[in-house]
């Protein structure tokens, strides 16, 4: 088996390239909060979270918070549910959820639920089951699921279930592994997995594995390391992970490493980025690759972090 280049990945994350005119960095500026979650969670899985200055990160994250309670992608940016979850997750990594005005954040998230149970991403109204997952995961971490109508939220998610057993972003939309992770995760967190046809979905998910051992996100698409997370965590949540060839997937992920400079890419020999580095390492953790912290498939946080977050504030 190839080696996991832990030190190189840590180095890569800690010192992201500072090339001038780096297009990717310019494009990433507005979603830096997401980037922080990907980078920091990877470091934690690799056992190196102490390499960052916790106080600085927490202080910066809090500056990304809007008075509405939601978080923007960076300082001065408008709030969106996408960044709100990442912010909460980053605080959870440092066991600092208590710096939040929980009521404030929870109200922001709850305000995004619509009549039909769906969630909008922000005040402009885009609806997507990703936002259902984000709302449910966020509020569960804050112990404030009582703020939303969970029954309606579940009903909406179930309305996005397709005949192949998968889920799309809205009713009728194509089944997609990323959306499936979100829907299954939301159903798992709310104790509603009985709505999933586990055998049917499990088969659809295990069909994502292609000859190279990698996973794609939809039929006839190319394999991509990020699906190592979305497909895999979904399979684990529905107890069907033994239906894929784990060894071949491990090898695929390891082949996507940049063994010289660190980082992981979407598929072998492509350029690396923080996003795929996180999903590759998280995927390896789910596959029980040695030396990695265990990660919770529904909350996408190391298991010990989730346990700590669960113990705070007995309210549910």
């Amino acid at each position: 088996m190839a080696e996991l280049m832990t030190e190189k990945h840590v180095k890569y994350i800690l010192s992201v390239e500072k090339k001038k005119d780096d297009f990717e960095s310019v494009v990433m500026e507005h979603l830096r909060v997401n980037g922080a979650y990907w980078g920091l969670t990877t470091l934690d899985i690799l056992g190196k979270l102490d390499a960052v200055d916790q106080d600085e990160v927490v202080s910066w994250i809090m500056q990304c918070q809007h008075e509405s309670g939601g978080f923007g992608g960076n300082i001065g940016h408008d709030p969106h549910i996408l960044y709100t979850l990442s912010a909460i997750q980053v605080l959870a990594l440092f066991d600092k959820i208590d710096v939040l005005d929980v009521e404030n954040v929870a109200n922001y998230i709850a305000s995004l639920q619509n009549e039909d149970g769906s969630f909008s991403g922000d005040m402009w109204g885009e609806i997507d089951t990703r936002f259902s997952y984000i709302a449910i995961c966020s509020l569960a971490l804050l112990h404030r699921l009582d703020k939303i109508n969970v029954e309606r939220a579940v009903k909406y998610i179930v309305s996005c279930k397709n005949l192949d057993g998968g889920f799309g972003c809205t009713p009728g939309a194509e089944s997609h592994a990323g959306q499936i992770f979100c829907c299954v995760g939301a159903l798992a967190i709310t104790g509603s997995l009985h709505h999933v046809d586990k055998d049917l979905l499990g088969w659809w998910l295990c069909e994502r594995q292609v000859k190279s051992g990698g996973l794609n996100g939809r039929p006839e698409k190319l394999p991509d390391v990020c699906y190592s997370w979305w497909v895999l965590s979904s399979l684990i949540m529905i107890d069907r992970v033994h239906w894929i060839d784990k060894g071949k997937l491990v090898n695929f992920i390891l082949d996507c490493q940049d063994k010289e400079n660190g980082g992981i890419s979407d598929r072998p020999d492509d350029a690396v980025d923080v996003f795929h580095t996180y999903f590759g390492v998280a995927g390896l953790s789910l596959l029980e690759f040695p030396g990695l912290k265990a990660i919770d498939p529904a909350y996408a946080l190391p298991v010990d972090v989730f346990a700590a977050a669960s113990n705070h504030d007995g309210m549910n």
Binding site: V16, E17, K18, K19, K20, D21, D22, S25, V26, V27, M28, E29, H30, L31, R32, A36, G39, V52, D53, E56, S59, W60, G72, G73, I75, G76, H77, D78, H80, D122, W124, G125, E126, D128, N162, L163, D164, G168, C169, T170, G172, A173, E174, H176, D199, G202, C206, E207, Q209, K211, G213, R218, P219, E220, K221, H242, W243, I244, D245, V274
Partner: protein, 328 residues
């Protein structure tokens, strides 16, 4: 980055434009030691510094509108800029047909941009249904599986109409690429939801014929096999009793072409008490690699063969073997 017409003119720095002389730009503040440091071009930095100034002053003016356009050309994924642009559009009561044209331009360069799809269309209403369908069609000509474009197209059809040519459009896309799962999904969407077609029951027969034709062309294609199942939703006995289904499995197996999906369908039929013909049994046995499995129960033998021809999913096929209902 492709910026369309703007690229043709050399950019004059904001600091040299007389119409901006009264504004003091506001620099980005990352904090003393940025966690995820990002590099900026001078052009990007300056444009965003001026944007921050008008944003903080809440200036909803024509020059602010133009500035948001420049910022969007530099980075079309910035929520704050788009949201402020929308506030300005409302305040200035701008002709939204022009905005739609601008949005089209941006999307051509970056078709995975989330936030631009819906806002303008909703404001313009039914008058732009065909334009929106054309808009997504153009995206599909570059990227026929663009997930968000499909989501938008479905929203347009349901909110604004335009179903007339949708099934024909699916035909077109599948002719281009029979493996396009998004097009198969859209086909199902149209067949089940179009107010013009009569619903699944009415459409089923011709759609079964369509799926079978696709299967015979490329039996290794996942999509038409699943589509076939979908056509018989909640009525699997009709699937099992439709002679065309067993027949297509036989045809595929006789041709000895990639047969995993055919074997899987045979297994599904057997699991619902289909009685296989001797011809089918022989065809299944013929495609088995050596050493040929010796299970006396035909359904179990199919599972054993599947473990051999689709080894990456051997665990799944092993499980299928344990869940075969008792045979008659």
């Amino acid at each position: 980055m492709n910026r369309g017409v703007e690229e043709e003119r050399a950019r004059i720095p904001m600091s040299q434009r007389p119409e901006w002389a009264d504004i003091r730009p506001v620099p980005q503040y990352d904090g003393p030691n940025p966690v995820v440091p990002i590099a900026y071009t001078d052009e990007f930095s300056e444009t965003m510094d001026y944007f921050r100034a008008v944003y903080l002053a809440d200036e909803r003016s024509p020059r602010a509108l133009q500035l948001t356009k420049e910022a969007i050309f530099l980075n079309s994924g910035n929520y704050t800029v788009w949201q402020f642009r929308r506030l300005i559009l409302d305040a200035l009561n701008v002709d939204l047909h022009e905005e739609l044209h601008f949005v089209d331009q941006i999307t051509k360069d970056n078709s995975k941009n989330y936030q631009i799809w819906r806002w303008v269309a909703e404001k313009l209403g039914t008058q732009i249904a065909s334009k929106e369908l054309e808009f997504t069609r153009e995206i599909f000509s570059q990227d026929a599986k663009n997930y968000h474009a499909w989501s938008h197209r479905q929203w347009v059809l349901q909110a604004l109409g335009g179903w007339e040519n949708e099934l024909a459009y699916c035909d077109e896309l599948l002719e281009d690429d029979i493996f396009n799962n998004s097009a198969w999904n859209q086909r199902y969407f149209v067949v089940t939801r179009s107010p013009l077609l009569g619903g699944l029951e009415v459409m089923r027969d011709s759609e079964v014929a369509f799926a079978i034709k696709a299967i015979l062309a490329k039996p290794e294609n996942e999509s038409p096999w699943r589509y076939l199942h979908g056509l018989y939703k909640n009525d699997v006995n009709s699937l099992v009793n439709d002679p065309r289904v067993a027949s297509v499995c036989l045809d595929v197996l006789l041709d000895k072409r990639d047969c995993v999906h055919a074997l899987n369908m045979v297994l599904d039929l057997l699991s619902h008490h289909h009685q296989p013909s001797n011809e089918l049994k022989d065809a299944v046995d013929a495609v088995s690699p050596d050493p040929k499995p010796s299970d006396s129960n035909f359904a179990e033998r199919v599972c054993s063969i599947l473990q051999l021809v689709d080894p990456i999913r051997a665990s799944y096929w092993r499980w299928r073997k344990t869940s075969i209902p008792a045979q008659d």
